[in-house]
Symmetry: D2
Subunit: 466 residues, 4 copies
């Protein structure tokens, strides 16, 4: 019940079945982006591409994968913002320029893209998408460097913000992670071939071996000579996104070198210590609250039961009936189990409260099912600010915790009590790495500020095209 | 990890938004049939129909529901067997005959359909589908009765087997449940309109009130004069499908008058009593084993953790890589959480073992993740026979428990121990109703025998058409 | 500028490439029906079918023809009346019954179909289309005969009207032409295989040899034993459709044993003799008036020039501009050549005048292009009655010649003179066969009367289905 | 039976129904390009675009035209070269740059596009198509001029070759014709709005008034202030394409200020004078030879008859049968009328002979139909060289007349005699304008030479993309 992440990236070099493996990798990371996906492979006769809206498993079939020839491929799954079917923003982006063909996919958000774009356009560049990522391709195409590797090196030094990038050129696969390492990126090995991906669950599915994280600020070039590591950026303090552990990543993944399930379990245990309550049963809000609820149950000694059942068959659009149904938006996903809830004091565990509207509906649904009391526990601190580094959060004024006290939130969602995990408790869950994480959305300490000028010019290019 | 059910049915009479409500009802019951769905509505200018392969939420949109005019509608979601896109077998089936238009949808399986079909064809009837259900329409179209209600009464008395049927005529909605009541069917009320559906979770989503089960052997006619109950069949002992409680139904539903979650929890508890084992953690096979695992955990006092993570984004087809991946078929759905499993003694809880191949892959996956021991516990008895009453089971010889001892099964799936719930323990979970259930697939006591002749003629009609 | 014909039929028996040859045959006869087409082939594992709306060349491609396996096939091209995309009326119709599979396609119109249908429905038959042709299949499926050939013999004796039928059974290709032979049907030979089709232009394209017409009232059975001829009907006077020569057939075809081009040329010559006029140039209304215009030019000694150019790229729908354009409906097809028309006295030659509205627009267009005089000449007599035998004519009251004098028609279409070919002149063009033709639409002498009762019951079944 | 032209262009400014009128205009000029079409309209909220492969009448429907809002639009119909469905080369091309949105469509061929492209790419421009036309857009986007009009002026001065261009900016419609005026372009008026299009037949359909040709070397700007004429180029001798009169243009059009029908008739008359033959009948090869055949018939006094019938229902692909059919490629389009041909001495009239293969098949077909003699007459001179100015001709070595004498051609196509129109006779048909025409493909006198270097670099960009 939470934010939308930006995307998953996957790349492989030197595998006879590159597109198929990329497909599997994207499939394993589908939770990171469910609205569009694409793969670009590098065949001996040129790049091959397939990008569409929809689930990975619906976009590709035997025929389309067969056409994605080549021993190298990169792929992307994303949340898409516009309504067009042939969304030109769908990644990987792919161009041809003086250096030949290049494709790129991006997890993150650039904070100076609009300024760079404005400048490039003034000098005659023609953009074909409204994506930040295209800026990088224009910088590459205009680079005065002699070779591709140096041109990528140049281009990524010009941009600022959060980025885990994969580039595919005719002879190499290149990964770049921004100096603060906001978004994850790992390196694996599958037989003789190398794999790069956002989460380790993708390595598990294809049975690749996990080697290591790409480090914050590292650029890795993989080609026929093997793996080379470069350092395009000056060193700064890392700011890895703590929300990967709270919500985004799959619990079976390792992210930023840590087991997500264990971290999330620790958050639930700590939440039970910080915010105990006398009740009968712990009920997770599925699926995001499940692991923390197990931790809460273990620490509190209260039993956990599945009092809310999730319907997993949600399609792209959902047609409302003309009549109004109470808590409709939530009902299409969740339904209470009366025998679990009726007459009992319930502790609901979720990962976060954003606007409060969904939480309010869930509490209402549980009350209607006959709960004696409803206590809401959140396995992260109050979300008080938006993310500028790749998470699609609402504006600050829409975040309920940015302008309401916990008491007011309790009133609004109609719970008998509300408890959040403390910032200290949250960071305790990542133990010795606590200084390497970004918690800007809780703390207001933004590691990179947004440029305050130049946004206006961008509007010129924000229209949706055919 | 189990059988495929045949379908869900839904009908509503007297609602201004009939097709939309039917859509929501099917959506809530999508777990009962995920390959095709359809709705037929009754508009003042004739019936309107939309049937397609795919998920309910993908088949219907604003436009298509708008076209399904009328205040009465029936709908169906099913597993489809043939590969054709415009599957003529997709329900509701819809014809026009001397009584005017009629549509029907069916949950169950007729045991004498092939004999009746052969006879009808010999007398010149032309079938357009290979579906059992079409036999009922031909019996209706040839009935010598004067009115529609009597013609339906006639038609359903001729067929034998498992059937929960909904008929829509230009002025009525008719429900019929076979005399043994194999498959569920309930009556609800939404404002002034009546609803019929397979499971109560559909009533919850549309906020309809649950009135009662349609009784085994009952025929209910709903028209502008209200609800009438008829009894076309002689009374026999009910044989409700126990597997609805073990696996098919959603845990938030009431089925055969019982709370599914509570029944399934009781099965898990009883399993712990019957088949305890010294271990560290209870791990459910998601999603089918989750509720029984909670019961097992509660009764045994062992903690439950989510050591297997399920990927819910499975598409219709899944492309295998050319390389072989260990346990591939299971991997696209499940991935282990190493921090839960490594070095621990695991109790896996699932609802059933059919062929054993999937269970074997899961045990292998858990062993590869480092489990110290793997104990497999099943919340139902060994499945020794196929179902003739609407469940798509493999043939007897493919059921591992039909020709292997528990010790042999343990060897095959490579578990440290295997434990099943006893038949007595299973039926204990439905308490006072234990004599009203069919357990033929465990016990071999089939309430209706299959006709042994006539199957050959049927083959003539089993081809797939354009 | 004229009527719509009902369709083309094509069949082939004993050819390794049956579906492809059928495709070519339909393609050659596309002018007989441009809205839908279909092919059913007979493969060793059952019939294969593909039917769609659209042009033959757009419906079939390499893949779809590949799937239409088998050495026997029948096909159909037609004007379709309803707006549905998956028009169940599209032929060949195809069913399975006690005799096994059978497919049928039909050129013509049955006059007693509605009565037979009503009776069949009363006895429990379920129709799936609103097509007359389906009646024949139900009669076949209910036949008490022992074998397929006799059952077809029975079925066609029951129906009355105009029909050139092709049946395909698992082991034979059967052709039937009604006793009056309203619509054409010819037999050809391609290597060792036999071909049946509406027009000889289909034989030309596939390089088959023309053998002979199927005679009025003849039933021909083609199977592995060769060709057999049967006579299901009592002999009557033939009534072949004269309009095949006036308009429908391609000028490069032989129809009813006559060369269409030569017949049409003779009509134009006779028209010049009967209806001369002092003018400068003969201008055909393309394409229907072209051959007659050549004849008129030759006989009159006046030069022929192409003063009207036809646009052949007309799509299925045509979008009108919001502004009104003069003579718009005609303009999308025809445009005048000013250098031909300006200042000259024009003789326009067309094959017929139906409602007069199109002719009026054409005359207006020619006048706007600067014609000094416009004389309209028609290579057939005034059309005073509708056709009941397979031509889609408007109702009598919409036929301008049914209730207006030639003088009034001249006034309405704003021509300087109007001249029609006489009935005697028309029939003279077919020489010695003049008594074997139907001219009911000119003369009012209908060879078979329509049953006057029973039409009302039919309405029940005339609705469009999903 | 001839070359493929490059395209048709159409534009309108200041009309409430701009996209619909553009659709009609393209429809009227469909003969100039039948594989793809597109329209870009200028709405108050930005440009709207629809481009697809296929016929104009199939690409657009009520809905799609409704979405093409705005009072200004340009459109294009073309032969497409690559096989992709979403062909990025389909015009109008449309970008956004520092000057805002701009769309362009192009009839013709640039001879220095590859050199300019190479240079632009070296400086960092990213091309998205393989179309010559995109070069113009990059020149525009990089122009240092202050306003759009000046930037267009700059851009078109840089390119060289054949071009009739239409540009649409947010506030103007701009037409440019290259200084030699290879391809046609006319100006018309529809009420208060201005129209630009390739041929006058488009004006006829929409009932616009023909004003004048855009002159060779003229640039016309149409905006809210009316029509302005500019002269970007130094004056040179015009070189209008004579093949527009021989073959491309519709006979009902005015092209380069001349009536096409009259010109083509004069060519046929002159051909009869230059190349008479003792024969029985003149038979045109439809549709390209029809008007010249009328001229030949008139001058020679021999009758013309339609001995070859053309099938107009040719689809995009045509499936060959596995068996070989004589003259198959021609047979799908043409079929002989035996009664016209048999036993007679035939004069076939066509507009040109390119490779000779088609002519050979046609002669063979006429001989098979029983012709006593077959004389081939061509209403243009022998085609000895390729076109560099927008016509898709084969390479020089494939042109039969480039390396064979007329006697050899006669032998190859198996005619009794072959006669071509002389160059002098051809140019005589355009009378006083004879010096304003390009006849390079006959004479070898190319008005602009091709740059001989730089072609190699282009290959880098010639691959087909997704």
């Amino acid at each position: 019940m939470s934010f939308k992440d930006e995307c998953a990236v996957f790349g492989i070099f030197g595998h006879p079945d590159a597109a198929r493996v990329t497909y599997l990798g994207l499939y394993a990371m589908q939770h990171r982006g469910q609205e569009a996906a694409g793969i670009v492979s590098s065949s001996p006769t040129g790049f091959r591409s397939r990008k569409r809206r929809g689930y990975v498993a619906d976009i590709f079939d035997e025929d389309s994968l067969e056409k994605l020839e080549g021993t190298s491929a990169i792929g992307h799954a994303r949340y898409s913002t516009s309504g067009e079917n042939n969304d030109s923003n769908t990644q990987p982006l792919y161009i041809e320029c003086k250096f030949g063909e290049i494709a790129v996919c991006h997890n993150g958000n650039l904070v100076n893209a609009h300024l760079l774009r404005h400048e490039l356009v003034e000098h005659g560049s023609i953009f074909r998408t409204t994506s930040d990522t295209e800026v990088i391709l224009h910088l590459y195409a205009k680079s005065m460097q002699r070779n591709r590797e140096d041109a990528i090196f140049d281009a990524v030094r010009t941009v600022s913000g959060a980025f885990s990038l994969l580039f595919q050129t005719p002879d190499a696969l290149v990964a770049v992670r921004d100096p603060r390492g906001f978004r994850p990126l790992v390196l694996g090995k599958l037989g003789e071939s190398y794999v790069l991906c956002s989460e380790t669950c993708a390595l598990d599915l294809i049975e690749a071996e996990y080697i290591r994280e790409i480090e914050p600020g590292e650029m890795v070039v993989i080609d026929k000579n093997g793996v080379r590591s470069l350092r395009p950026f000056s060193e700064v303090q890392p700011s890895q996104c703590i929300f990967e552990h709270v919500y985004f990543a799959r619990p079976d993944s390792y992210v930023f070198g840590r087991d997500v399930h264990a971290t999330r379990l620790a958050m639930g245990r700590q939440l039970a210590r910080e915010s105990p309550v006398d009740a009968d049963v712990v009920v997770p809000v599925p699926d995001s609250g499940v692991v923390a609820a197990v931790g809460y149950s273990q620490e509190s000694g209260l039993p956990m039961e599945f009092g809310l059942i999730r319907n997993h068959y949600v399609g792209r659009t959902f047609i409302e009936p003309r009549q109004s149904i109470r808590n409709f938006g939530v009902k299409v996903k969740l339904n209470p189990v009366r025998s679990v809830i009726k007459g009992r004091r319930i502790i609901l565990v979720d990962d976060s409260i954003i606007r409060g509207t969904t939480s309010r509906k869930i509490v209402g649904m549980v009350r209607n099912a006959g709960a004696a009391e409803v206590h809401f526990r959140v396995s992260s601190p109050p979300t008080t600010g938006p993310c500028h580094y790749g998470i699609d959060t609402p504006k600050r004024e829409e975040l309920i915790a940015s302008n309401h006290s916990i008491e007011e939130i309790k009133e609004y969602i109609d719970a008998d009590s509300v408890g959040y995990l403390s910032q200290d408790g949250l960071l305790g869950a990542v133990e010795k790495d606590r200084d390497r994480y970004c918690s800007a959305c809780f703390s207001g300490n933004y590691p990179i500020e947004l440029p305050t000028q130049g946004r206006d010019q961008l509007k010129l290019f924000e229209k949706v095209r055919d």
